[in-house]
Symmetry: D2
Subunit: 381 residues, 4 copies
């Protein structure tokens, strides 16, 4: 059966550019889909690097101005992998041009931008998805499935951490092409938008909406050199660390914490759900596992079960290898892309869409605000 | 060498009565100490049960009125294991009578009581200790040692949980002789005084004092039957769950959470310290282990090290068995008692004393207050 | 109810002397039993050390000749905790004197001795038990219970390891009062009798008898100084390490390995059972846990379950503390003693008795023989 | 820089066909190499399935007769991913045609075949590698590196397991296109060639050669239906399970076990090395981790370190993502292919070559022989 081709124009060639390119390259090899993404054009400002990148990955053409990319009639999908402060303008223009839009997370610099973007997308009626790729870790998808099966029951507690340690040294610079996440003007925030946004997206998906939050944020290293000009030092504007308490609409209590100063934690994105009937625990550093406690088990064999999420009846895994063979970080993007394409095919769009990602933005903004006001802030529209 | 005898009068024969009795029975068998505790008198109100208890454990005599116990000239040490709402009166009377005082945690129903007690104890100048027994888990003591050795460096983060799941059923009654911890009038608070007090004591010991806290508390089951009269139902006054954020005086950020609604967690008392040079992690459900990450290790062999805390050069362990042979819950009391007796012997008193426990009480009160006010509260004197 | 007293005469005051004394001291405090052991007499050759030991633990009297101990009319139970080469003579004499006999493992120096001992015991008809204390680790007892419940089904595989690392240094001496386990003349064998005997006892109990074995043994350090005369060096006669394959009567395949040269393993006594319906895994270094895989679970939640064996419906645990509170190494002896006393009370004797321990001896002898012959040896009577 | 192209002709489109195709597709995207593999021709007997496979993966042409493939002048490399009983003929023909040869493991049906193949390859002088892909799990490569750095010292023990559970049901058929591994005529052996060959290859690489082995093998399910004709049942000729003891040339003792009847173990390929100075432990089900015990650590912080093998200074990882982001099963093939191509580039050929794989074959044959003879068999040339 001939595939329907979707021409993709991707903006950004950094870390996410690689991850997305790999997804376009592989998705059709492992998933049987009606739509086939075509790596039509890669777009970035630096022509030299862009050219090498495009050649390596097999992008057919390049553009150095994202407006030109959007203007091209042969592009069906705009994929935004450039820094946070570019998302809004590109997404709105793409939507207005009738393109499908894929956007890296966090959706926007703040709620105000997010509302504009979401309204533009919905007005245009184009397919859209935000790359909260961790929803497509099979173990996290399985967690969602177990909750939907009613295995957890009334939820009492949710606790999430997202810990890294790569900015402890004061010598790590800020800004520039690879360290813009440390520059408040480009990133909008620090760990809140970069890491906690993942934790929040997962929580909202698994448990439902939040009512309000109270937070504390900290910037441990007060100034850092610039990546592009190491002799110049600038105050650090981002949050190095952030912790918050949440009240969910369903009555559950949440605790969230993120930092880049947790020595020894490389990418420890964890969550735990405690419900009346059972509990779940996940740690991204052991991404192939989901831990599950089932109160319905016979009493003397109660225990936390480590599910090795590699069987063919686990989410996504029948597309990959055989039981016991793990997939890696990059597969979350491939799985997400497969879902996006399947959504177009079936008419049941993949999530999270811009509207969903806006919900996460509301929480992020409330967290950052509470970090300043010291009181509980409303974490919803 | 003849031992110096210390005659002990212990109040309370419940769970803590057993744990303390076992400590008096065993401490001299495993530790070489100048002072020998003598199980002179057990005290409780119900004569029948008390008698059986005393006979089983070898308490020489019994008393049904703690005032009579304190009046006895043959008693050197008063050990308070009765419910929280009795601590103040007994401790003050015992101090005024010149007795040494051992008191179960939490020290008091609130800071006001704690101040009175501490002042009375210090005025009397009597030896005193509060049974925060977990300081004497060898792995926790080792954590303190590693911090004191400078292995962690500047501390960025501290996170603690104390999770249980035994009150999820609404059929669990409150009050009565074994469930007074669920009765606000007897316990003073719920998980805050019972469980978080342990977490706070450990944190203050390891990291130092807290500046302020913001908290949320919840009572999931709103009313429960009475243990002593199952046909009568009473509103639940205690906090079933409590989470708080803390700012430490040294600039570190703390997150704390406790609940009795974490399905599958039986006695999961954990902490993690993240510092510039290293990190530590502990979980009471694996009490024989301490996890340690050392940033000074060669880069390609960086990793979290699971220290099996059973070697003879680990705290307390040379008194027990051989490497690989674990000790249990009850040993924390024996180790604590050994320290108390050694403190008398050496003149360097064991800790935490009443003054230390009062610091914990300040935090508990601030947490409970913040749970009501919704703002950051001062967590110190 | 008045207890029936059983006067105990214990031989040996070393490591096992402490462990047994502690059991006699505590068993009645935690178990409600008809029989009460009385610490009547401790026996060893060195009067000075014996006296201090007896005083510390509360043994009423002492004897320096075990024959005199057996002759005493006031002794009901002889407990043999002295080195292996003394077991036979003492056990037979005690049996002939009509005493109950408790004997440390391994039962004997070899099968020939074991047969003599077992026949003497059975002829005398006295209560008897061999201290294979690990059967009374609650998690191991639970494993037995789960197998008996039919949860594992047809067994395909059994694998056991018992790894330590304390003899790697060639400076560790042999012989003497604390290192007789390294002296072939006193111990009879090395890791085979000391450690593998435990693994074999557990295997026979859980899975049933063995048919035959093939083994390899090694002595890595060929000579060692004497503990009692460090200037004298003697060849090492014991097996430092031993590995064997086994065929069980029920068709299962077994692998067993033991060593004192596994750097980093302190007391890692593990077993795994793989059956048609489920599997079990245990590690003594995490003695409070049993891992269980249940094939009957729903397919997408299959997983290894970590059972925290501290609940009141787990073996022995209702006698101790509360869920989440672990017991330690020493409690295995207390639990075993409780079973022995209960066996007398109920008329259903505790196991393993001498006859059971003789089965283990057959396997040990076959293993050591195969280590020399290089062929499969019969591992049963 | 223009790449030098290497035209690949791959035989087999099953599980390994996918894994290898993925490697050819991706290697150049992540590794900067002089040589670029070109997916020139895929070869298999069934034209229909082959065509679909080739189209999906981008193989330029197809062949249904491997002899025609070898005859093609435009093919530089023959990659053999077809069943074991085809390896010899193809490999020899390819070598004689001057092609480079990549061959799936096990090398051959037996040593006799392996010798012929190795001699043909060496006579032809062509580049060659056998796909023992697990050598390229970064954690295993790191293990090799740590041993080469002298961190383990004199080795006392090596123990390996390779456990699966997918053939427990008697309904699993044998033979056919996907289950030929259960057919003795096609596979040559059961778990020995399929799974233990991996364990042996790793052991020989890490520790060095074996002297002799003693083994036991078992076929639990005696007959199975045919995959291609379910009404026909045939005796099972393969070994379902195999355990063996080994003596290494360096004096170390080895234990090895493999089975497809270990309920709950999906792909548990483990090894542990115990040396005088340190120990290592690996489990393929947690492939991103290596555990390391360093005896040189300060005594009170001795512990098993879990190295998260995802940092840029760990083997292969700088080519992939960022610390904390794992790679999966398929990456072992990509890493291996990169090494093969780099070997051509540098003139230092990648290993294991045919000669290395022949060493593994010697051990496999000795193991299977000992399983029949019951005595120790020589496990080397």
């Amino acid at each position: 059966m001939a595939k329907k081709k979707l021409n993709v124009g991707m903006i950004g060639y950094g870390f996410m550019g690689r991850a997305h390119s790999n997804a376009y390259l592989k998705v059709g090899k492992f998933f049987d889909l009606e739509y086939e993404p075509v790596m039509k054009a890669a777009c970035a400002r630096k022509q030299d690097k862009l050219h090498a990148f495009a050649q390596n990955w097999g992008w057919e053409t390049t553009e150095t101005d994202w407006r030109r990319l959007i203007d091209r009639q042969d592009i069906d999908v705009i994929d935004i992998g450039s820094p946070n402060n570019t998302h809004k303008e590109i997404a709105i223009a793409a939507a207005q041009a009738g393109k499908m839009v894929l956007c890296e997370k966090p959706l926007a610099m703040n709620v105000a931008e997010g509302i504009e973007m979401t309204e533009a997308i919905e007005k245009a009626g184009v397919a859209n998805m935000v790359w909260f790729n961790y929803r497509r870790v099979p173990a996290i998808t399985l967690a969602k499935q177990l909750i939907d099966e009613g295995r957890i029951g009334r939820v009492f507690h949710y606790r999430a951490k997202y810990l890294q340690d790569w900015t402890i040294s004061p010598n790590v610079p800020q800004g520039g092409s690879t360290l813009w996440r440390l520059d408040i003007d480009v990133a909008g925030s620090g760990v809140t938008g970069d890491l906690l946004a993942h934790s929040i997206d997962t929580a909202l998906w698994l448990i439902g909406g939040m009512d309000s939050v109270t937070a504390t944020t900290e910037t441990f290293i007060k100034e850092r050199p610039l990546q592009d000009d190491p002799n110049v030092t600038k105050p650090v504007g981002i949050d190095d660390a952030c912790a918050f308490l949440a009240r969910f609409k369903n009555g559950a209590i949440g605790t969230f914490e993120s930092t880049r100063y947790a020595r020894g934690r490389k990418n420890q994105n964890t969550f735990e759900v405690n419900g009346e009937k059972g509990s779940l625990y996940f740690d991204l550093e052991d991404a192939h596992q989901l831990q599950y406690y089932n109160h319905d088990d016979d009493s003397h064999v109660h225990g936390w079960r480590t599910i090795l999420v590699t069987d063919s009846d686990h989410p996504y895994m029948k597309h990959w290898w055989v039981p016991g063979c793990v997939i890696g970080y990059e597969h979350t993007f491939i799985n997400a892309l497969a879902d996006f394409l399947k959504g177009i095919e079936t008419g049941v769009p993949a999530r999270p869409n811009f509207r969903d990602a806006l919900e996460t933005q509301y929480v992020c903004d409330a967290v950052l605000k509470s970090g300043k006001t010291g009181v509980w802030e409303r974490a919803q529209a």
